[in-house]
């Protein structure tokens, strides 16, 4: 029994790529929504060492509106107030826990995709267009690994799949809808400062859209510039390693080995900065980069 509700708690298990999660809640709309969103990844049993998230409804007080409490592995993480915020915060809470739950991997803030068995990681801070770019590439037949994480295996340096639903901000939605990508239930959720967001399930685009682990061949740092001509600018591997260092989630827990690993990762890849403009032209540019092995530097070339 949870605060403010007398419904019985239900528990569901998911295996999203390499990330195992268990969600417990008595708040049926939240659980149903999340279960529908991640239906392709439902599993009958929990995996050992996975992430356990609990969503509870807090009692309405004299001074507070009714709110939800999102707890991850027994730590209180978020307290979203509005119903439309709960699923995004639940998803977000899992993301926060991923680097802690899987410390044996290197976790980079990056979208990761694949083409022809070769991996592309797009490391960038929030608001740089990672998810939009991942959607665009997904629509063009690329394999999907993640829109938020590049989880790099420390032994093989291969980027692992964590095919969470792609979170698209409302302003980016028209660009994505033009590509014919289906937005989950055509519903918007609220996600803090990001405002309204919608979700795209890779498996709704193609049944085989989720890529298996693959070696990282290209590391491209994207930056969306409205109206800009898409262009790729080569960067040195040392600069790339430094930039990856800035987006590494678990560097502080193991700085020396993580830096060695970043160095090894860039050694096997070609590195570029990307000025991303029009989505389709930017995707074409990245595709040419893959097909010609790294010589293409502008969309008009």
């Amino acid at each position: 029994m949870n605060g403010g509700t007398h419904r019985r708690e239900s528990t569901l298990h998911f295996q999203v790529g390499v990330v195992s999660t268990t969600i417990s809640s008595a708040v049926r709309p939240v659980l149903d929504d999340y279960a529908a969103l991640y239906a392709p990844f439902r599993t009958p049993r929990p995996a050992e060492g996975g992430i356990h998230v609990r969503v509870e409804r807090a009692r309405k007080g004299w001074f507070h509106r009714r709110r939800h409490i999102v707890t991850v592995n027994a730590r209180r993480q978020f307290e979203p107030a509005r119903a439309a915020e709960v699923v995004p915060y639940l998803d977000w809470a899992i993301n926060w826990e991923v680097p802690r739950a899987y410390p044996q991997a290197l976790h980079l803030h990056a979208a990761s995709m694949s083409l022809g068995g070769q991996g592309l990681i797009l490391p960038a801070l929030s608001g740089s267009g990672k998810s939009t770019l991942a959607s665009g590439l997904l629509a063009r037949g690329w394999g999907y690994l993640s829109d938020e994480f590049a989880i790099v295996d420390t032994a093989t340096l291969a980027v692992q799949p964590y095919p969470r639903c792609i979170c698209i901000k409302k302003p980016s939605m028209p660009a994505v809808e033009v590509l014919g990508l289906p937005v989950f239930r055509r519903r918007y959720y609220l996600k803090g400062a990001k405002g309204y967001v919608g979700y795209i399930r890779a498996t709704d685009v193609r049944a085989d859209a989720v890529s298996s682990a693959c070696p990282v061949r290209f590391i491209v740092f994207p930056k969306y510039v409205r109206g800009a001509e898409p262009a790729l600018v080569p960067v040195s591997r040392a600069e790339a390693a430094l930039a990856l260092h800035e987006v590494c989630f678990n560097l502080l827990t193991c700085p020396t080995p993580a830096l060695s690993m970043l160095t090894e990762l860039v050694r096997g890849a070609q590195c570029y900065r990307l000025i991303a403009g029009d989505l389709e032209r930017t995707c074409v540019l990245l595709e040419r980069l893959f097909t010609c092995g790294g010589c293409q530097q502008s969309a008009s070339a």
């Binding site: 591997r237 040392a238 430094l242 502080l252 700085p255 020396t256 830096l259």
Partner: protein, 141 residues
Amino acid sequence: MTAALGIDRISEARRPGAPGDGMPDSAGKGPGVLKKESPLAGSAGEDRRPCRVRADLVVHELDGEALIYDPLTADTHHLNATACFMFRRLQASDDPAVLAADLAGRYELDGSDARAHVEGFLAELRQAGLIAESPAEWRVP
């Protein structure tokens, strides 16, 4: 925290035979040249203090450039090819004059230019806390 040292701005293009090789102009403001003026360069007050990079730094070389991890501050620094060359020389020698001579030889600089670059580089390394000033600090702890 990550940082690219200012020495990063010395361009490898100045190396003879490198693509776009451009020697500095008379004002010392050629492409990619560190513009910091050093009052000590080539003067009677030249800084000849012996110095060497700290032995506990973790250095990763990549295509002639380097990443340096400082375990004391958890900062990471990036050195371009020229800075990496000087850093490696500084690991072997504690004399800035030797370093300036090496730099002058490699990049065909005149003595005062080379000394100015070395002074600027050492100043930035000191500011970043990467220099061990006394021989006692040169040894690995």
